[in-house]
Structure formats: structure tokens, C-alpha cells
């Protein structure tokens, strides 16, 4: 038998990962905005316009791309997809941008201050290629502003807001947005390797047909 040694991470489970990623466990909801108007409840008009434009630009160049509407809707649900116009070669489809979030780049990695949000048909929210939480349209407590913004529960479940972000950027709850006084980063996106020959949705079909994986 191997001797046992207490370890910090073992003692604390996965919680440190969430803390590292800036997920405030007291306020696990992360606000996202479907449009500039909704954003203006929290930020000034110029910053909101900048964030929205940045997310839209990222959406146009880097949204997940599917060779067929069926393949796209299989993930994002009926009506969740649209034709993609910029590729020109073969017809292709991408999910509709549900909203955008405002985030802060981690030190030493690609700067990224805003992200388009996609929500799949099962209610999982994606940003920057990672699952970041569970999307709900419901308002929380008294912080709902007339149905214009929505929330992602980033850390209440499996801690998606932390590890899932892949160390590339972190997202902040509205209660801890002092970072926002810093100017937005305008560094170029990391999408330089975007290729028009990418197809998606080629793995996972049997799992969704059967329903369970582990053993």
C-alpha cells in the first residue's frame, strides 16, 4: 500500500479551480446581454457598443460551423441556426448568437474582453469554445431588468466557469467588476487559424441516442 499524504487540492476538491477562475461562489450568476440596450443597464453606451461589436465580429469569423442545417440544429435546436455567409465555397450553417458576455483576459494569455454566447438545445451556454454554464432566461431575485438580460449559472453546478474556460479568459459576476475600469483590450483575436474546411458534429451521436456514458 502506498502511504497517504494530505494534499491541498485533495482536501478541497474542485473548489480551488473555481476560485482561481474568479467565480464568486456567493454570486454564481453571470449576466449576459442580448443587445447593447440591455448592456447599458450596467455599463456606459460606448463600452457596450464596443463589446457588442467585438462579440459580433468574433461570431462572424469564428462561430462553430456545420456542413448542414440538420447537423447544426441537432446541437442548437430547431431555429437555433442560420446560414453562414462568409465562406463562399460550400453551404454551411452556424448557431445564432444568443448574447454576449464581457470578460477579462487572464495574464499571459490571449486577451479577450468579449465573447459571443451560444446556447445549445439543452440549455448549455458556450463561449470561446468552452461550456461556461447553464443558461436560463429567468430573472434572479430582484436583479432582473425587464426581461432584457439573461444569466448563466457558471459555478453552481459543475464549476463550468472555471476549468472549462481553459485558462484563456475569466468571467466576472456583476458584483466584482472593478476590473472594468481598465480599458478594453483590442488585441487581435486568436482566430487566425480559422479554416473554411472545418466540419463539426461528427462525434457524440451514439451517446445522445443512448443517453449515458460512464462505466
Amino acid at each position: 500500500m502506498t502511504g497517504l499524504r494530505p494534499l491541498a487540492l485533495r482536501a478541497l476538491g474542485l473548489a480551488p479551480l473555481l476560485a482561481l477562475a474568479g467565480c464568486d461562489q456567493d454570486t454564481p450568476a453571470l449576466r449576459i446581454y442580448p443587445n447593447v440596450e440591455a448592456c447599458q443597464a450596467d455599463y456606459n453606451a460606448e463600452d457596450c457598443a464596443k463589446a457588442f461589436a467585438g462579440a459580433q465580429a468574433a461570431h462572424a469569423t469564428s462561430a462553430p460551423t456545420y456542413p448542414a442545417l440538420d447537423a447544426c440544429e441537432q446541437i442548437y435546436g430547431p431555429g437555433g441556426c442560420m446560414p453562414r455567409g462568409d465562406l463562399g465555397v460550400a453551404p454551411s450553417f452556424m448557431p445564432i448568437m444568443t448574447g454576449f458576455l464581457i470578460g477579462q483576459a487572464l495574464a499571459g494569455v490571449t486577451d479577450r474582453a468579449y465573447q459571443p454566447i451560444y446556447v445549445d438545445r439543452q440549455g448549455m451556454a458556450y463561449a470561446g469554445g468552452s461550456v461556461i454554464g447553464t443558461y436560463r432566461r429567468d430573472c434572479i431575485g430582484n436583479t432582473c431588468t425587464s426581461g432584457t438580460s439573461a444569466y448563466i449559472f457558471a459555478s453552481g453546478n459543475s464549476g463550468h466557469g472555471g476549468f472549462w474556460s481553459g485558462g484563456r479568459y475569466t468571467v466576472h459576476t456583476m458584483s466584482t467588476h472593478s476590473w472594468f475600469s481598465k480599458p478594453f483590450s483590442h488585441s487581435s483575436s486568436s482566430f487566425t487559424e480559422h479554416s473554411s474546411s472545418v466540419s463539426r458534429g461528427g462525434f457524440g451521436s451514439i451517446a445522445h441516442a443512448i443517453g449515458r456514458i460512464g462505466s
Partner: protein, 380 residues
């Protein structure tokens, strides 16, 4: 070995949730169960550990024979998949982990039920949740559990084969699936602790870039090494399956583990090592077992589905499920370890080539399934 009824921690639900364990009640049935625990002697733990190490050694010998003699039809494998397995085995592509399911009651030798070599779950429960429980409830007792340290060491050991340069290790599973996500999240956390950079991608979102002949993430970045908690038999059959051979991506667990997670390994082990104390007689057809009680298992079954128990010619228990199509093996029935009507299996965890811990599942029925309870253990 005994089962002890004990008082659960008053705040046990909050304690385990604070660890990130959020799939406790599957379909409303509590899965983590700390109103009982299993207690072992140090000698008993030594026996379990030695049995798992021995079984792993036998399994590697069996893989060598299967490849050498091209026994792939017995596994239902196509020539294209066999070619991938041969290349993977020839390169000795590294493996991270696996779980033997054993029957053991503290007397005699532990017996192999099956080897979950490709996509085992319950790792986080065994490594973290039951350890946290031991620290709080039985701080003076020991637990067969160096899983966390061993995983970090394993990631370090395989680094030369995995990460030339500073490239990412991707981890993937299907979403949403709390149990699988927690398992890959935990494996990713151990890799990060070993100094890796890690990124999660839902398996449904893995892209294929035909121009670059590479799997890609949602940013179009190439995926060169990926841990997938997703069965190989599904990967190779899905739309992108043919791209696995075209890509240069290294997969974990490696594809040669298909030979161990497939129940066809059980009769091959019995052929190679007949009468071995850790094996149960197993065959590809039921005749050699005659009127002996036996268990019929589908080659590619999961979570205890489509398993039936036969008492001679009469079926006495059966589970339903989606895995009936690929053929069966027949294994001699081993009387389950029982305590007052509760049946239990030991899950012996291999990290790399060494057993580093144990988790126990119990069920009121004879066949362990996805909803079988996880019960912690100690030894003194």
C-alpha cells in the same frame, strides 16, 4: 471485511457539494451513501492490491496475444479498427487509468468481474469525496487511496509521450452530463497540477478540418492530444470515426484499451490462464458452464445493462438496456458479497500499471448499475 452502519455527517450533502460533487441523486436516488462504510484489515487491502496488479499484468499479456494472433473477430472489430489498435499497441501509447470490478468478501482470492479499461467513472468519488469523508469521520484510520498523487505522477510520467512543447491537452466528454463532466474535470485538474495546460471541449463540438487533416477546437486550433471519456466503440462508428486514422492526434485512453474493455477479453483470459485464482471461468458460448449458475454479459455492455443471471437453464435476474446487438460472453456466477441483503463490488483503480486505490459500490439487487450506491471504506 465488514459493513458498518454509521451515522452520516449531519451536513454531508453540503460537504460533498462543496467538493464539486453535484450528481449525488441520480433520478432521485442518493448515489453517495455514508450511512454505512466498509472496514478492512491491512492484509485484506494488500490482497486486493496484489490481485489488481496481477490482473493488469495478465491483461497486458492477453493484449499481446490478441494482436499477435489477430483475434479481432472475437471482439467484433473491423480490419480498419484492428489496424489502429495494432499501431497504438506497437507504439505503446500511454494509458492513464482503469478500474477492475472485483468480487471479494475478505476470504479467498478476489475474482475479476470485468475491466473498465476505457471509460471508467466514479474516479472523483473514490479519489476525493471518500478521502474527504475519511479525514472528517475516521481521521485515525487509513484508506486505500493514493489516487490523486498517483494521477499527478502519471501525467508527469507520460509527458515525454504527450507534450512536446507547450501544447494543450484537450479533455472531452458528452454534455450535458454531470457525472462524466466531473470525471474529466477532475482528470484535467490532476493534469494541470502536473503542469499541463488543459482545455475542455464538448465532444459534440470537436471539429474536423479536412484541409489540415486535423481535429480542431472551436477556435480552429488543432487538437493534437485529447483525453476522451467516450467509448472507443462509439468513436470509431460515428461520422468522424474514419478521421481518427487520418489525424495525428494522440487519444487517451489509447485505442488498444478497446481490447480490455470488451467482455470478449474474459474468455481469452480464462483460455490463457485457466484456473487462475483471480479469474472466473468464462466462455464464448454457454455449453461449457453446463448447469452451473452463470452470467451472460454483452460484449460492449455498459453500466450493468443487458446483463442476465442464469441458474442452470432458468434466468433469475436480468437488466434491460440498449446493448443487446453485439454478442455475449458467459461467465461463471460468483456469489456476491452480501451484508444483510446488500450486495457489493470492489472497484480497484489502476493508475498507469499500478493499483492505487479502491471504491466500493453496493446495490440491493444482484447486478450493479449506474444507480448503485458508492460507499466509502477504511482500513486499520
Amino acid at each position: 471485511m465488514r459493513r458498518r452502519e454509521i451515522a452520516p455527517r449531519p451536513n454531508w450533502a453540503e460537504e460533498i457539494e462543496a467538493l464539486g460533487f453535484d450528481f449525488n441523486a441520480l433520478d432521485g436516488i442518493p448515489y453517495w451513501h455514508e450511512s454505512a462504510c466498509y472496514s478492512f484489515s491491512a492484509d485484506e487491502i494488500d490482497i486486493v492490491e496484489a490481485a489488481a496488479n496481477e490482473l493488469h499484468r495478465l491483461c497486458l499479456l492477453a493484449v499481446g496475444r490478441i494482436v499477435a494472433e489477430r483475434l479481432y473477430p472475437r471482439f467484433g472489430l473491423s480490419p480498419a479498427v484492428a489496424a489502429l489498435i495494432e499501431a497504438s499497441w506497437a507504439a505503446r501509447q500511454p494509458a492513464i487509468y482503469g478500474r477492475f470490478d472485483l468480487i471479494y468478501d475478505g476470504t479467498g482470492a478476489p475474482k475479476l468481474l470485468e475491466y473498465n479499461a476505457d471509460t471508467p467513472t466514479s474516479l472523483f468519488e473514490a479519489a476525493i469525496v471518500q478521502w474527504n469523508w475519511r479525514e472528517q469521520v475516521f481521521p485515525q484510520s487509513d484508506q486505500f487511496n493514493s489516487l490523486h498523487e498517483a494521477l499527478v505522477e502519471r501525467w508527469n510520467a507520460v509527458r515525454p509521450q504527450l507534450t512536446p512543447g507547450q501544447e494543450l491537452l484537450y479533455v472531452t466528454c458528452t454534455t450535458p452530463n454531470a457525472e462524466d463532466e466531473t470525471t474529466v474535470q477532475y482528470l484535467g485538474a490532476t493534469a494541470i497540477e502536473a503542469g499541463y495546460r488543459c482545455k475542455f471541449i464538448p465532444i459534440e463540438e470537436v471539429g474536423w478540418d479536412a484541409g489540415r487533416r486535423s481535429f480542431v477546437d472551436l477556435d480552429g486550433l488543432p487538437i493534437r492530444r485529447i483525453f476522451k471519456l467516450y467509448p472507443w466503440e462509439w468513436l470509431v462508428r460515428e461520422q468522424f470515426g474514419a478521421n481518427i486514422a487520418r489525424s495525428a492526434a494522440l487519444f487517451l485512453e489509447p485505442i488498444w484499451k478497446m481490447l480490455l474493455s470488451n467482455k470478449a477479453i474474459l474468455p481469452i483470459l480464462w483460455e490463457m490462464f485457466p484456473g487462475h485464482e483471480n479469474l472466473l471461468p468464462a466462455y464464448t458460448d454457454p455449453a461449457p458452464l453446463g448447469d452451473r449458475p452463470s452470467v451472460r454479459k454483452p460484449l460492449l455492455g455498459r453500466e450493468g445493462a443487458n446483463v442476465s443471471i442464469w441458474d442452470g437453464r432458468r434466468m433469475v435476474a436480468e437488466t434491460q438496456g440498449p446493448y443487446a446487438g453485439e454478442g455475449y460472453v458467459y461467465q461463471a456466477f460468483a456469489e456476491p458479497t452480501s451484508f444483510g441483503g446488500v450486495h457489493c463490488n470492489l472497484g480497484a483503480w489502476m493508475i498507469g500499471d499500478t493499483c492505487h486505490g479502491m471504491g466500493i459500490r453496493e446495490d440491493d439487487g444482484l447486478i450493479m448499475g449506474n444507480a448503485s450506491r458508492f460507499v466509502p471504506h477504511i482500513f486499520e
